[in-house]
Symmetry: none
Subunit: 204 residues, 4 copies
DNA sequence: CATGAATGAGTTTTCATTCAT
DNA sequence: TATGAATGAAAACTCATTCAT
C-alpha cells in the first residue's frame, strides 16, 4: 500500500526504532533487521533510505542531539538570569526524555562507538563543546572567567557521570536528586569563589 | 610443544590481550581471533581456557577491577587521615594505568555491555558500591552522614564523568586537572557544610 | 508529466543507456537502476517497457548488431569489386563507433553472457554467420571456394581477436593497424593461393 | 574429520571448483556457495583460505596462466628450430585442456572482468606479453624484426579470435583446424616476406 | 505514461565455536 | 596442552521486480 511522501515518515520511524532498539539492548550491535522490524518495514527499506547501518546510526545520534539542542534553546530563552540559565542547562540535561534508562543506554553506546568512529566522536564533541560554552557564558556573569571554566568543566563532567551511574541502574539516583547534586556543586563552587575573593564584587 | 603449568600464564596473556584489543578498538566486538593472535595462541586455546567469549570478557573486567582494588587498598593504607584517604581514593581513580586512553575506552565498553549482561553489570555495581562506601566512611569523619553520602555520590559521579570526557579525547582534561577538579569539589562541599552548620563540631 | 508517443524515445534512451553502462563497467551486471538513471527515468519504467533486465539486454545487443548490419550494407554497396567489398567488410568491423573501448567492452560482455543465454548466443551466431557468408561470397570471386572459406574463417577470427586485444588495452593496436593487419592477412592468403595454383585462372 | 596439511589440497580443490563453475556458467558471477559446494566444503572455508571472492578469482586465473606457462616452457624445450618453436607456441595455445569449452568460457569471463579489475587485467596483459615476446623472438630468426612483430601480433590475435569463436560454439572450429589456420597464417606471412625481399638472405 | 514505495530472494562476509589429532 | 580444520548461523547489503497511485 504505497503512498506518496512516505520518506520523511519512514526515516523518522527508522531513527526512532534504532534509538529504542539500541536503548533496549544497550549496544550498537543491534541488527538492521531488528530496527526495521520495530519500524514495521523490511531491512531493505532501511538500507534504501539510509544507505548503510552506519549512516542510520549517525542519523540516530544526530536526532538525539537535535532534540537536546531544541530543548536547550527553549529552556535558555525561558530563563531570566545567568544563574537561572545555568539551572536551565542542568535541568535540560536531566530532562525526562533524555534521562530515561533506554536513552541513557543509547548515549553510552554512542560514546563507546565514538572510540572507533570519527563521525560519531565529532558529533559528541560538538555537543560537549556546546554545553561547555553555554555554561561558561552564564557562569562568567557570576564569577571570574577562569573559575567559570573550571565550574563548567566540573558541572559537565558531573552530569555525564550521573548519566553513567544511571546506566548502571544500581544506585538509582533519581532525576531530582541528580539535579540537586549538580545545583549543589555549582552553588558550593560559587560560594567558595565569593568567600575567597570577597572584594571582587559583581561580574558582568 | 605443550608445557606443564601453562594455564595461569595463558589465562593472563589472554586477559591482557583482550584488554588491549578492547582498548584499541573501543568495543567488545573484538574477535576471539584477534585476542588470541595478540596473545600468541590459537583461538581454540582461548576457548579451551575460558569456555566462551563472554567468560573471557568477564574475566577481563574482573582483572581490571582486581587491579583497581589492589591499588585502592594500598593507597588507603598509606594515608594517615580521613581526608587523606579521600584524596587517596581520588588519586587511585585517576591512576595513570587506569586513566590511559585504552583503559578508559575499555571501561566504557564494559559499561555499555553491562546494559545487556547481568554478570557485567553486577561486577560494575560492586565496584561502584565499594568506591561509594570507601568515600562515605572517610567523609563521615569530616561531616554529617547525610552530607557524606551526598558528597560521595557527587565525587563518584564526577570521577566517572571525567573518565567519560577523557574517552571523547576532545577536552583533554589531564590527570592532574581531573584530580584537582575532584578535590576542589570535595573541598567546596565540605567548606559549605562547615559554614552552614558551624556549631556541629567534629564528626567521628 | 506523461507524454504521448514517448515509447520509442524511451526505448532508445534506455538501450543507449544500457550500452554505455555496460561499456563503462565492462559487465552485464550493471543494475537496472544504473541504466535507468543514465536514461533519466525510473527503474520501474525500464521494466514497464522491457519487461525484464534480460530483455533489455537482448534489445541492447540487437541494437548494436542492427547498427553494424546497417553500416555493412552501406559499405558493401559503395564498393565496386569483390576485393573492395572484402576491404569494406574489414573496415566496417573496425569502424570507429564499434571499435571504441566502451563498445568493445560491451561486445565482450555479451560474448561472455552468450555462454549461458541461448538468446544472446543466437544473436551473436547470426552476426558471425553473416560476416562469414559475406566474406566467403566475395572471396570466392578471387580464389577457390574451399580456400575462400578458410580465409573467411581466418579473417573473421582475426577481427575478433583484434577486438579482444583492444579490450585488454595493453597492446593498443590502433584502428588503422588492425585494418592493415587484416588486409595483409587476406593479401598473403590470396597471394599464396595464386602461387600454389597458378594455372587455375579466374574464379567467378 | 580434520586432517593436517589440508590447506594446499583445499586451495587447489577450490580453485579447480571455481574454474569449473565459471566454465559451466560462463560468468564470474558464480557464487562462493556454488564454488564451495563443488569443492565439497562450506562457503566459510573458501573465505577462510582466500579472504574474499575476488582473491579466489584471481587465484583461479593465476592457476590457469601457470598451467599455460608450464606447458609453454615444456613445448618450447622440445622444439628444435625457431619455426618449430613457433609451431609449439601455437599448438600449446590450442592445447586440449585450454581449448575445452569450459576453459574457453572461463577465459572469456576473465577477459570481461579485466575491464573493471586492474589485477585481472594485469595478469592477462602479462600473458599476452609473454606470448608476443616468445613469438617475436622465434620469428625474428626467420624474417626481419619489423615483420616478426607484425606476424606475432597477427598470430596472437588469430589465436584469441579462434578462442572467441570457440566460445560461441556455433562455427565449431576444431582444435586441428584452428592450429592449421594459424600455421597457414604464419606460413603465408613468411612466404610473402621471402618473395617481397628475396635479396635479404638469412636472418639470425 | 511514470514513479516512489517497498520487498523477497539471494550474496558476500564474519565469527564464535567445535573437534580430531 | 595446543592447534589446524571446518562450519552453522547470522549479519549487512544488493537488486530485480511489483504495485498503488
Amino acid at each position: 500500500m504505497p503512498k506518496l511522501g512516505m520518506e520523511p515518515l519512514r526515516r523518522k520511524a527508522l531513527v526512532d526504532a534504532a534509538l529504542s532498539a539500541i536503548g533496549d539492548q544497550g549496544t550498537l550491535t543491534v541488527t538492521m533487521s531488528d530496527i526495521a522490524r520495530r519500524a514495521g518495514v523490511s531491512p531493505a527499506l532501511a538500507h534504501h533510505y539510509f544507505g548503510s547501518k552506519d549512516e542510520l546510526l549517525i542519523a540516530t545520534i544526530r536526532s538525539l542531539l537535535a532534540d537536546l539542542r531544541r530543548d536547550t534553546i527553549h529552556a535558555l530563552n525561558a530563563a531570566a538570569s545567568p544563574r537561572a540559565r545555568v539551572s536551565a542547562l542542568i535541568r535540560v540535561s536531566f530532562h525526562a526524555g533524555q534521562f530515561a534508562p533506554e536513552t541513557v543506554a543509547a548515549w553510552l553506546a554512542f560514546y563507546s562507538q565514538a572510540q572507533s568512529s570519527e563521525a560519531m566522536r565529532h558529533l559528541l564533541v560538538l555537543y560537549a563543546r556546546r554545553l561547555h560554552s553555554n555554561l561558561v557564558v552564564n557562569l562568567a556573569a557570576l564569577c571570574p572567567p577562569d573559575l567559570a571554566r573550571g565550574i563548567a568543566e566540573g558541572a559537565a563532567a558531573l552530569i555525564d557521570g550521573l548519566y553513567l551511574r544511571r546506566a548502571l541502574a544500581a544506585a538509582p539516583l533519581s532525576r531530582e536528586r541528580s539535579i540537586a547534586l549538580t545545583e549543589a556543586y555549582v552553588d558550593a563552587a560559587l560560594a567558595r569563589a565569593r568567600i575567597e575573593m570577597p572584594a571582587e564584587g559583581r561580574h558582568a
